[in-house]
Amino acid sequence: MGIEGIGARALRKEDKRFITGKGHYTDDHKVAGMHHAAFVRSPHAHAKINGIDKSAAEDMSGVVAVLDGKQLTGDGIGNIICGWMVHSKDGSPMNMGAWSALATEYVRYVGDAAAVVIAESYEEAKAAAEAVVVDYEVLDAVVDAVEALKEGAPQLHPEAAGNLIYDWEIGDEAATDAAFDGAANVVEIDITNNRLVPNPMEPRSAVAEYDDAEDHFTLHTTSQNPHVARLVLSAFYQVAPENKLRVIAPDVGGGFGAKIYIYPEEIVCLWAAKRAGVAAIKWTADRSEAFMTDAHGRDHVTKAKMAFDADNKITGFKVETIANLGAYMSLFSSSVPTYLYATLLSGQYNIPNIHCNVKTVYTNTVPVDAYRGAGRPEATYLVERLMTTAARQLDVDPAELRRTNFVQEFPHQTPVIMAYDAGDFDATLDAAMEAADYKGFAARKAESENNGKLRGIGMSCYIEACGIAPSAAVGSLGAGVGLWESAEVRVNPVGTIEILTGSHSHGQGHETTFAQVVSDRFGLPAENVQIVHGDTDKVQFGMGTYGSRSGAVGISAIVKALDKVEAKAKKIAAHLLEASEGDIEIKDGEVLVKGTDKKLGWHEVCLGAYTAHNLPEGMEPGLKEGAFYDPTNFTFPAGCYICEVEVDPDTGVSTIQQFVAADDFGKIINPMIVEGQVHGGLAQGIGQALMEHAVYDDAGQLLSASYMDYQMPRADDLPDFVVSHHETLCPGNPLGIKGCGEAGAIGSPPAVINAITDAIGHNNLAMPASPHNVWKAIHSA
């Protein structure tokens, strides 16, 4: 391996273990004396627990304990919290209902856990869980957010009258209404953002170990943010103080948001290990449990309208959204339909007046929280469907309508908090149109027509916000934590380097890209750099990986720590080489005095730092520096996606003919990895657009609770993607990184739906555009 710095398509350092079957995921972890947990889950969407008869289960072979919610709360384990306070427009705080890791009096969704069985083997635990008899008094359920707000709807929580969690607003309502009064044209849309199940391929899992001699816990878990897990488990759930709890997130098989949150199962396994007096307890979700308990995504219903003047410039945008948060408020659930959604409603456009009202609602469904994109896909879907609908209504080309309204000058303050710092929206639109041969579309459409097919083309010009986030800013908006990142650079005496990062990789390739940043800085081979992450005993603290923050925030922390290491190394070298510090340069693994032939090997300087035989007066030995990086602004990845589809009018099947992505992610460390992130995001976005849908029946049964019923995109559902990058640097962080992890999932659904509505000739199409929905849309026209 040579020197592969910033910009190199370096192959991944982590791959060897994965392609040889040597990855180490949580469920692979085994310890002596390990027991197994199986949860007793409610088959009802809403019920009162009148009693639990554990006797039969307790007598079964291998069973060591059957525990319930009253025992859990009796032991002082705290309720699960939502960590972001949102206030209603009348100033009142959100109405958060109590959520105990094991239900005490009521169950509120199918899958809500009422008890847990701890047994010697997995099979024994499962069998005994079946034998626990819960006396449920079944209550009426409501699964639809709009229905849940209606008078007379079943009520979920005494704390939330009318099932309303908050009634929030952003923007200037009076000014926005005035813009509509003076509008030349008004375009309206009613839109539903379909509910999704994240489905990382590795199911959630936890192994809780308890050492009674030390009164110390170790938790291996499928987490995107092990330090946040430890903090919350300690400070809010009182499982154990932080110094007595080590959380390890080893190899994690995908996250997509679903593994940010601290779920009931981890809490219960930790608590139960101590209470039942066993050395360790393992729980691993089967896929059905994953469908029933992983936080779902999206599920918005929106009415919106946009005002245009006679020159087709947008003058106002008014939005009313109802968001389903499920049966309980998950960790970041309150922020998703507010600060991660409504703040992006300006899209890539100059919109002088925006007003958005959001009501969030309890229903008898799985909690809903951030899923790849989190709020920004919902905003983009709304804005970009509306732009294409407007172009049709105003009879202008959709590209031209967008161009007419693009933000051209930066920084640009939107009316909804965000201040865009850099971008070039024309560049990505041009690039995508060129790559898609937009001009040649008419000829391709004619050819499809000859074959009895409908062809359509659709675009989406998205912007999103990453680099989450400036701590003081999010604090003022209600966040319960700061969203900085930490890093530590440990240089060994032989010159090799360990980078300890609070970011967590669950597929993103940090072991490679982070090493590239170090290689680039000192000219060292990547194999001399080791990335350490995912263990609270090794890394002091970190906020983890979500919101495409590992580049913009995590790498920035590493850069800051590298700056300190470089400064100290230069001081030492200047002293050893009897040169002035300003003349020292570190390059290609050597430390040189500029303009002379005097130099030292990098390893010689490092060794010098540790032997400490000859250091500058007063300098401490060693070469190790840490940094906390707190961003100054969000970052704003943006781009343009174009999708071309062919629809079979007889069957309603839509086939993607081409999909083009032109993105601006700022500085790119490894284009190969970034392209992979785009591909994966596009697949999830196209999945949402064409097939994925979490469906409940009226009684609250999840009908799409397996891969037989919830359609995951497979290889032959998707095309080859055409991906390109167009860089404008983010001025807010040292390398100019914007972030790339979610863009594909954010920008693609409206491109697909705009293409299909173009093909069928009208706007009235529900997502997902399944063959059935498309066929209905064609025949309803």
Binding site: I19, G21, P200, G253, M672, G676, G680
Partner: protein, 163 residues
């Protein structure tokens, strides 16, 4: 309970298993071959694919007892003498994996596709034959490229061996 003997990755092994034990659990729990993963409970995801007597099989759909007397190859047994199998190398070289969870099953399926379809298998065929394997990370783009490249490599290996 049944006594089973089989060859796993070239070694003969034996064990006493419950009648209901799945092959995947035998591999993961009894043999500690944790490279074979479990991603679903309806035999749809392909995370668990291994080779049984040279053919790709979802090890979650087969009982350990049914595999008695068979030759099993898991992802751990694919490389030989410290040399990656060409399909493993192709996944690395073409960035055909991200989180790595689907990867063992993908690679085992890929080898089987090439065994059946030959070294010149085209991308459309690859996409169709990945019907039984789900990846949530890669969007399949680079998996398809990896398999096409791995197929070519396997083909030239076969040719060399024949010469």
């Amino acid at each position: 309970m049944a006594k089973v003997e089989m060859t796993i990755n070239g070694r003969s092994v034996s064990g006493v298993v419950e009648d209901r034990m799945l092959l995947v659990d035998f591999l993961r729990e009894e043999r500690n071959l944790t490279g074979t993963h479990i991603g679903c409970d309806t035999s749809q995801c392909g995370s668990c694919v291994v080779h049984v007597d040279g053919k790709a099989v979802k090890s979650c759909t087969m009982l350990a007892a049914q595999a008695a007397g068979s030759e099993i190859t898991t992802i751990e047994g694919l490389a030989s003498d410290g040399e990656l199998h060409p399909m493993q190398a192709a996944f690395r070289d073409n960035h055909g994996l991200q989180c790595g969870f689907c990867t063992p099953g993908m690679i085992m399926t890929a080898v089987d596709i090439v065994n059946r379809e030959g070294a010149d298998v085209d991308e459309q065929t690859i996409r169709e034959q990945l019907e039984g394997n789900i990846c949530r990370c890669t969007g399949y783009h680079n998996i398809v490229k990896s398999i096409a490249a791995g197929a070519k490599e396997m083909g030239s290996g076969m040719k060399e061996a024949a010469e």
